[in-house]
């Protein structure tokens, strides 16, 4: 048995174990911690499958930011809500389990039946990549070949922000988001929030910059930057800005707006919407990626910061 196989088997067993743990955990906190660890291990699996871009995204967004969001929910739920009986009956849970197993089993069977070798667009991507001036095929797909998907996904983030803000309680509109409850100053978290961000910001910018030629890009870089911002916010070292700020809103739409503008210019400069003139493709793509990184970081951070609240709301709640 080779070493790689042993590592893979170990990973698989650990992931299955963590999955069971997450479902069976008695406390919400326990389940969330299990889920975060599960996400990190899944990221390792993506590394083993040589999909480093997916691994980075899974670790940063799937495990990191989502985990933080779930932890926040678990701690904010009133104690009574945690102790009551499970909200669903045994029958419902068995049905859910059965359906999940059926879908998983069906998928496994179908994946085994898929043609081998699988039809792929990878050679076509590789052949056309030089026209974009990029070295990373994933970035090529995201920013050039399927640019419309990335453009619309970055717009979805704006929709999500509007959705979260629309949950503002009465008299909360225009104020600062109040969902994150900062830890007391002087705790270990304060130290972490002072030490980590300088490195984290560098890593975030590096991930964006390197995305043109190696794994990385706007989503991964933006997620790391957002994590640093959120860390500073939960340590009480930074306060989320008021949602009425014009600069904040400009930051949130900067990425999609610039992307859209370059895309429209492409109609005249390169013959099609979202096409780049070959000579300027790489610089244009880098500028779009930079703006996207900024907007994604702002949007993810603000999604975690929650809806705006009147400053007095924090004192009213436990």
């Amino acid at each position: 048995m080779s070493a790689a196989l042993i590592v893979d088997l170990g990973l698989t067993l650990l992931i299955l174990g963590l999955g069971v743990w997450t479902v069976a955990a008695r406390s919400n906190n326990g389940a969330v911690v299990g889920y975060i660890a599960y996400g990190l291990l899944v990221a390792l699996v993506w590394v083993r499958l040589a999909a480093v871009d997916v691994a980075l995204t899974e670790a940063a967004i799937g495990s990191g930011l989502t985990g933080l969001l779930l932890l926040g929910v678990a701690t904010r739920l009133p104690r009574s809500a945690r102790l009551t009986r499970p909200p669903t009956g045994l029958g419902t849970r068995l049905l859910a389990g059965f359906l999940s197993a059926a879908v998983a089993g069906g998928l496994a069977a179908v994946v085994l039946l898929l043609p081998d070798p699988a039809p792929t667009l990878a050679p076509s991507v590789a052949a056309n990549l030089p026209a974009t001036g990029l070295g990373n095929p994933v970035t090529g797909v995201l920013i050039a070949f399927r640019a419309i998907d990335t453009l619309l996904e970055s717009v979805v983030l704006v929709f999500a922000i509007i959705g979260v803000w629309s949950l503002a309680p009465k008299d909360g509109w225009g104020e600062r988001p109040g969902w994150l409850r900062p830890a007391p100053l002087g705790s270990a978290l304060t130290l972490l929030a002072q030490l980590l961000p300088p490195i984290g910001i560098l890593v975030g910018i590096h991930l964006f910059w390197t995305g043109a030629t190696a794994p990385g890009g706007a989503f991964q870089g933006g997620a790391v930057l957002a994590a640093m911002w959120v860390l500073a916010m939960i340590a009480g070292l930074a306060r989320p800005p008021a949602v009425s700020r014009r600069w904040l809103r400009l930051m949130l739409v900067a990425g999609p707006a610039l992307f859209l503008t370059v895309g429209i210019a492409g109609i005249w400069l390169a013959g099609a919407f979202l096409a780049y003139p070959v000579a300027y493709a790489k610089p244009l793509i880098l500028v779009i990626e930079a703006a996207l990184t900024l907007s994604i970081a702002a949007a993810l951070g603000l999604l975690l910061a929650g809806p705006p609240e009147h400053p007095s709301a924090a004192e009213r709640q436990p």
Binding site: A144, V156, G271
Partner: protein, 513 residues
């Protein structure tokens, strides 16, 4: 001039997609009273773009098509508008204009404040929903359509809980769970198809699926995607989220959700079965889909009859009306289906289904807005206590009544034409059981609408006390939309040839016994 339109058709498609996106971002940044102004200014432009696309498709007698970024599929992503897409874009634009004009009174920034929550959210989300719907109706790539579905989910859900009550928040959350489950199933199916055929483009997929022996992956993918989209369309028995969500939203938002949002996922079910894998649509699968539709018609009708509140009644009526759409499948796929000469030899059920999509969109939006006017002026919407409202708000009630005519399928409305074509198709195919369902559905609709109208028109008792006067211009908007749903029935059948452009429904269901 029309040939110019056809020549610039590819740009029109791009414009339809990016106009609401650009307006949304502008409204988001400027906020305050500008959000409403930008949304209102976008309405006529968006309508003009939709009309131009329909005119270009009709005049060119061919679908419009463009490769985004200059990259042809399968590497790139294409947009395409055939006749049905053009009709859906146009319906969306018409309903958006009506709802936008109607909503002005409800979503104004109160004097003395620069910006407030509900107006900001409503006007930006109206544009967001428009962007999402146009993306669904123009998409030609299964993953791009997934992104469009995500846009739709995140635009629609906050509209449900705009009023901020805990009850509507719970309804919105339930909607979110169903919608996300639907998205995941859809995405799984799309991934499977890519894994099996190496492309996500609908036209290329159809060619490869049709050319090869049947892959099990294609069948599983179709099942997963259909199940996911059914949850989003709220077809019985996965309809549970719809009534509280659509009834709890503010009237203008209910109109958008019930008239348009559920149609988008239905449109994708149509595209999967008729465009991606037409050979796969066996009578078996088609009968199952239609049986669920029939259950929705009967179940939705009976439950609508039992509702105490007007908006809940209208929401259950949506469940029933969605059911009719699913009768298309066995009727179009039937080998006995007879092509109608005046419909370019396409089966009547196809045109009937498309008419049902359009006429229900107009009628249901009008009905929800009429209910909103009634609820606002009475301070409640309990059906029992609507007595005499016909005397107090004659025009609103008239609009409600004629929108109801279309839902019931009374001539000469668009709903009549839709149900008549479906009925005719069922007769030709010898599938008489669907005729019974259509007739029973019409009777149920008549019964629950009679309940409302009989109370509202009763002459006994004192006139109701209006807590708020009704704005005449809003009544005109509602009446206008209701009239459109009726007038559709007066248009000669041959003018619906637009529906058939770019679409050949004659080869459906031939691959399987």
């Amino acid at each position: 001039m029309l040939s110019n339109l056809v020549a610039g058709g590819d740009r029109l498609l791009v414009l339809a997609l990016i106009l609401p996106v650009a307006s949304l971002m502008l409204a988001f940044v400027l906020g305050g009273r500008h959000a409403e102004r930008i949304a209102l200014a976008t309405l006529p432009i968006g309508l003009a773009v939709a009309v131009a696309i329909a005119a270009a498709v009709l005049h060119g007698d061919a679908p419009l098509h463009t490769d985004l970024g200059g990259w042809a599929p399968p590497l790139g992503v294409a947009l395409r508008a055939d006749g049905l897409s053009a009709i859906m874009l146009l319906t969306t634009a018409v309903v958006m204009v009506a709802v936008g004009l109607f909503a002005r009174a409800d979503f104004q920034v109160p004097p003395g404040t620069t910006e407030s929550r509900a107006p900001f959210a409503f006007w930006t989300l109206l544009l967001a929903l428009w962007a999402a719907l146009n993306a669904v109706f123009l998409g030609e790539d299964l993953f791009n359509l997934y992104v469009a579905l995500e846009l739709l989910t995140f635009a629609a859900i906050p509209l449900v809980c705009l009023d901020g009550r805990a009850q509507t928040l719970a309804a919105a959350l339930r909607y979110l769970v169903f919608a996300l489950l639907g998205s995941v199933l859809y995405l799984l199916g799309a991934a499977l198809l890519y894994g099996a055929y190496g492309t996500l483009d609908i036209g290329q997929l159809a060619a490869r699926i049709g050319g090869d022996p049947l892959e099990p992956a294609a069948l599983i993918a179709a099942a997963l995607m259909t199940a996911g989209l059914l949850a989003k369309t709220a077809l019985f028995p996965v309809h549970l989220w719809l009534p509280p969500a659509h009834a709890g939203a503010p009237a203008a938002a209910s109109a958008l959700l019930s008239a348009l949002a559920v149609k988008a996922s239905f449109f994708l079910i149509l595209r999967i079965w008729f465009d991606v894998m037409p050979e796969l649509l066996a009578q078996m699968a088609a009968q199952v889909l239609a049986a669920l539709g029939a259950a929705a018609i009967l179940f939705g009708g009976v439950l609508a009859l039992r509702q105490a509140r007007l908006k809940m009644l209208i929401a259950y009526s949506t469940i029933a009306q969605i059911g009719y759409l699913f009768l298309i499948f066995p009727l179009v796929a039937s080998p006995e289906t007879a092509p109608l000469a005046e419909l370019r030899n396409a089966p009547g059920a196809w045109t009937g289904g498309a008419l049902q999509l359009v006429s229900h969109a107009c009628a249901k939006a009008a009905m929800f807005m009429a209910a909103g006017l009634i609820a606002a002026s009475l301070g409640h919407d309990r059906i029992r206590d609507l007595g005499g409202i016909g005397r107090a708000l004659p025009m609103t009630l008239f609009a409600f009544g004629i929108a109801g005519m279309s839902l019931m399928g009374l001539p000469p409305s668009g709903g009549f034409m839709a149900k008549w074509l479906l009925l005719l198709a069922a007769m030709q195919c010898g599938q008489w059981w669907w005729m019974l369902v259509i007739l029973a559905g019409g009777l149920l609709t008549g019964a629950y609408l009679y309940r409302v109208l009989a109370t509202a028109l009763s002459t006994q008792g004192p006139s109701p006390v209006l807590v708020k006067p009704v704005d005449r211009s809003r009544e005109w908007v509602v009446l206008g939309l209701a009239l459109i749903s009726v007038l559709l029935g007066l248009v000669p059948l041959s003018s619906f040839s637009l529906i058939q452009i770019g679409r050949d429904v004659s080869g459906i269901g031939v691959g399987l016994p």
